[in-house]
C-alpha cells in the first residue's frame, strides 16, 4: 500500500510517471526498463486511459487504485489487461500489484469517463455518473475495506446484491459483510441515505457507435439487450419512451412488465429494468407507472369499478359485478347495474350520494358525453380524429366507432370515414 496525495487534474499518464519514479527507486538498472506503457491503473474493473485526468475518472478522496504491471515483453497494454474484470480490492496472481491511496479534492461536475450511470431523482433530475461505494451491511458506514475477492465470479454477482467480505473500520462496528451501493457523482452527498438507482443499460459508447435513431455518435447511450446490442442516445431514448407512452405502445413481456423494445424490433432487445424510464422525468414516469400497473392488473384478470375506480378481481362470469365498496355495475358497458338492456343510462341523482360521489357523477357525465365504451373492456374511449376503425389502447379490440361492434368490411363500405 502506497499513500499518495495527487491533485485531481493529474492525468493517468502523469500518475504512472510518478509511480515509476517511486517504484524504480529500489530497483537495479536492469529492472528499470519499465515504462508507463507497461503499467495499467485499474479502478472499478476498468483500466484507466492515459489521457484522462483523475477527476474525469471520478476518483475522489480516499480512493484505492490498483496498479498492474503487464507482461514485460509486450510494449503496449494488451487487450487481456484492459478486459480483465477486476474488482476494487482484487489482486491477481499474474501481475504485481500495489495499492495506491489517492487524496483528491471533490469535484462538482459529473464526468463522462465513468463506466456506471444512474438516474439521480433526489437532486439532479438527470442521468449522472455513479460513484460506487461499499457500505457495511451492519452499520451502513462506508469505512469498509474489502478483502481480495476470489469466490465471486463477476461484477454481475455484486451488482445483483451479492455481499462482499472485509472489515468495517467504523468505531464499535464489527461488520464483516458489505453491499455495493450507488451514489450520484454530480452533487455533494447528503449522507449515507443519499443513494441512487444504477441503470445498467446506460453505458459509455466506447466503440463510437451511431445512435440508431438520430445517427449521431454520443456517450453515454442506452444499450438494448439484443446481441449485438443496438444503442440509442439518451435524448432519442427519452423521446422514444415519451412517444411509446403517448401512443400506449409499450411492449408487454412476462416477468418484466411494460417495457420498450429495440427500435430494430429484435425479439430479445428490451429494456430489462424499468427504472430506465426515469429518463421520462418525474411526471411522465408516474404516468408510465400508472400505465404499467394498469396493464399488469388487467392482464391478470382484474377489473376497475366504474364508479369509484377501485381495482378488484371477480373470477365469476356474471353479467353484473360488485366492487369492494359495494358499487354494482355492468361489466359490459361499465354502467351501474341497470335492468334489462345494457344501453340504458342511470339518472345522475341515483349516483350522487356524497360530495365525492357527486363529483364523480359530473365526471362520469362528461366522460359519457365525450366517449364511448370499448365493446371489449368498457374502457371509455375518446376519438379525436381519424377514421371509424378504432383500436382500444387498453385491450386492443378493433371495433367500429359507429356500430360499436367488431370492425368489418360492412363498416368499411358504409362509413369508414363517416
Amino acid at each position: 500500500m502506497l499513500e499518495m496525495q495527487i491533485p485531481p487534474s493529474t492525468t493517468v499518464r502523469q500518475l504512472k510517471d510518478q509511480l515509476l519514479l517511486s517504484m524504480n527507486a529500489g530497483l537495479t538498472s536492469q529492472e528499470k526498463d519499465l515504462n508507463t506503457k507497461n503499467l495499467a491503473i485499474i479502478f472499478a474493473g476498468k483500466a484507466l486511459q492515459d489521457d484522462h485526468s483523475l477527476q474525469e475518472c471520478l476518483i475522489r478522496d480516499a480512493t484505492i487504485l490498483h496498479v498492474a504491471r503487464s507482461r514485460e515483453d509486450s510494449s503496449t497494454p494488451t487487450h487481456d489487461t484492459q478486459q480483465e474484470s477486476l474488482l476494487p480490492g482484487v489482486s491477481t496472481s499474474k501481475s504485481d500489484t500495489e495499492s495506491d491511496h489517492l487524496i483528491v479534492t471533490r469535484e462538482q461536475a459529473a464526468s463522462l469517463q465513468c463506466a456506471f450511470y444512474g438516474y439521480c431523482r433526489e437532486s439532479c433530475s438527470d442521468v449522472t455518473a455513479v460513484l460506487l461505494r461499499f457500505a457495511c451491511d451492519k452499520c451502513g458506514g462506508f469505512v469498509f475495506v474489502v478483502d481480495p475477492i476470489t469466490e465471486l465470479d463477476t461484477w454481475e454477482d455484486i451488482l445483483d446484491g451479492g455481499k462482499v467480505h472485509g472489515v468495517c473500520y467504523k468505531d464499535d462496528c464489527d461488520g464483516t459483510d458489505a453491499n455495493l451501493i450507488f451514489k450520484c457523482a454530480a452533487h455533494q452527498s447528503r449522507g449515507q441515505s443519499d443513494r441512487m438507482h444504477y441503470l445498467r443499460q446506460i453505458k459509455l459508447n466506447l466503440m463510437d457507435i451511431a445512435c440508431t435513431t438520430c445517427g449521431d455518435v454520443k456517450t453515454p447511450v442506452i444499450t438494448f439487450s439484443c446481441d449485438p446490442s443496438h444503442i440509442m442516445c439518451l435524448s432519442c431514448f427519452q423521446q422514444y419512451c415519451a412517444h411509446l407512452l403517448a401512443e400506449r405502445r409499450f411492449t408487454w413481456v412476462a416477468n418484466l412488465g411494460s417495457t420498450a423494445r429495440c427500435p430494430f424490433g429484435c425479439a430479445d432487445g428490451l429494456i430489462v429494468d424499468p427504472h430506465h424510464f426515469y429518463v421520462l422525468g418525474r411526471r411522465l414516469y408516474e404516468n408510465y407507472k400508472d400505465f404499467a400497473a394498469e396493464e399488469c392488473f388487467l392482464r391478470s384478470g382484474g377489473t376497475y369499478c366504474s364508479t369509484c375506480g377501485a381495482p378488484f378481481v371477480d373470477e365469476s362470469s356474471n353479467f353484473f359485478t360488485t366492487c369492494p365498496n359495494g358499487h354494482r355495475f355492468c361489466r359490459k358497458c361499465g354502467d351501474i347495474a341497470h335492468a334489462g338492456e345494457c344501453d340504458a343510462l342511470p339518472p345522475p341523482e341515483q349516483l350522487a350520494v356524497s360530495e365525492k360521489a357527486r363529483e364523480n357523477a359530473h365526471s362520469r357525465q362528461t366522460i359519457l358525453s365525450t366517449t364511448k365504451p370499448c365493446p371489449g373492456c368498457a374502457a371509455p374511449i375518446e376519438r379525436n380524429g381519424g377514421c371509424m376503425h378504432v383500436i382500444c389502447a387498453r385491450c386492443k379490440k378493433e371495433f367500429c366507432w359507429i356500430c360499436q361492434t367488431d370492425w368489418g368490411i360492412d363498416c368499411m363500405s358504409r362509413h369508414w370515414f363517416a
Binding site: T212, T213, P263, F264, G386, C387, H389, V390, M412
Partner: protein, 158 residues
C-alpha cells in the same frame, strides 16, 4: 404545419438524404427535397421506376414523403402522387398505401431508404395489377392524410 421544425429532426432528415445519395436504393431517385433545413415543409419527392422483369417494367411513379415535427418517432406520411398511381392490391387509387411499417409497425430505426425498399419490393413481388377490393368506398370518403386511416393488414403475401 405550424409547429417549428426541431433541429434534431431536420438533421436526421438531412443525414438520411445524404445516405440515400451515397447508397441509392435501386430503382429509386430523389426528385426534390426540402430547400432548407429550417423549412417547415419537409416534402421529399422520389421517383420509383418499375423494375425489369416485373409487371411494372418501364413505368414511373412519384412518391411523396411528408414528415412532421415528431419524426422519426412518428411515421412519415407516404403517398403516391397522381397522375400515375401503381395498380396494386395494397395501393388505393388516391395514392394511399396499406403497408404496416407506415403505421403500427413503424420504428424510429426505419428510414426513407427502408421505406422505399419495402415499396419497391412490394411492387416487384406483385403478380396481378388490381386495386384493393375496398378501393371505391375508401377513396370516396378517405381523408387526405393516409395516417388518419386505421388499416387492417390482412395479407402479407403481395
Amino acid at each position: 404545419m405550424a409547429a417549428p421544425f426541431p433541429v434534431s429532426c431536420a438533421r436526421r432528415i438531412q443525414k438520411e438524404l445524404t445516405a440515400l445519395h451515397a447508397e441509392p436504393v435501386p430503382g429509386v431517385t430523389l426528385k426534390s427535397g426540402p430547400d432548407t433545413l429550417a423549412d417547415k415543409s419537409t416534402d421529399i419527392n422520389m421517383i420509383i421506376k418499375g423494375a425489369e422483369g416485373t409487371i411494372y417494367n418501364g413505368e414511373e411513379f412519384n412518391l411523396r414523403f411528408r414528415m412532421n415535427e415528431r419524426y422519426p418517432f412518428e411515421s412519415p406520411e407516404v403517398v403516391f402522387q397522381p397522375p400515375n398511381i401503381p395498380l396494386h392490391p395494397h395501393i388505393y387509387s388516391n395514392g394511399h398505401i396499406c403497408l404496416s411499417i407506415l403505421g403500427n409497425d413503424w420504428s424510429p430505426a426505419l428510414t426513407i431508404s427502408a421505406v422505399c425498399l419495402s415499396i419497391v419490393s412490394m411492387l416487384s413481388s406483385c403478380k396481378e395489377k388490381k386495386r384493393p377490393p375496398d378501393d371505391q368506398f375508401y377513396i370516396r370518403t378517405a381523408s387526405m392524410n393516409p395516417k388518419a386511416t386505421r388499416w387492417m393488414y390482412h395479407d402479407d403475401n403481395v
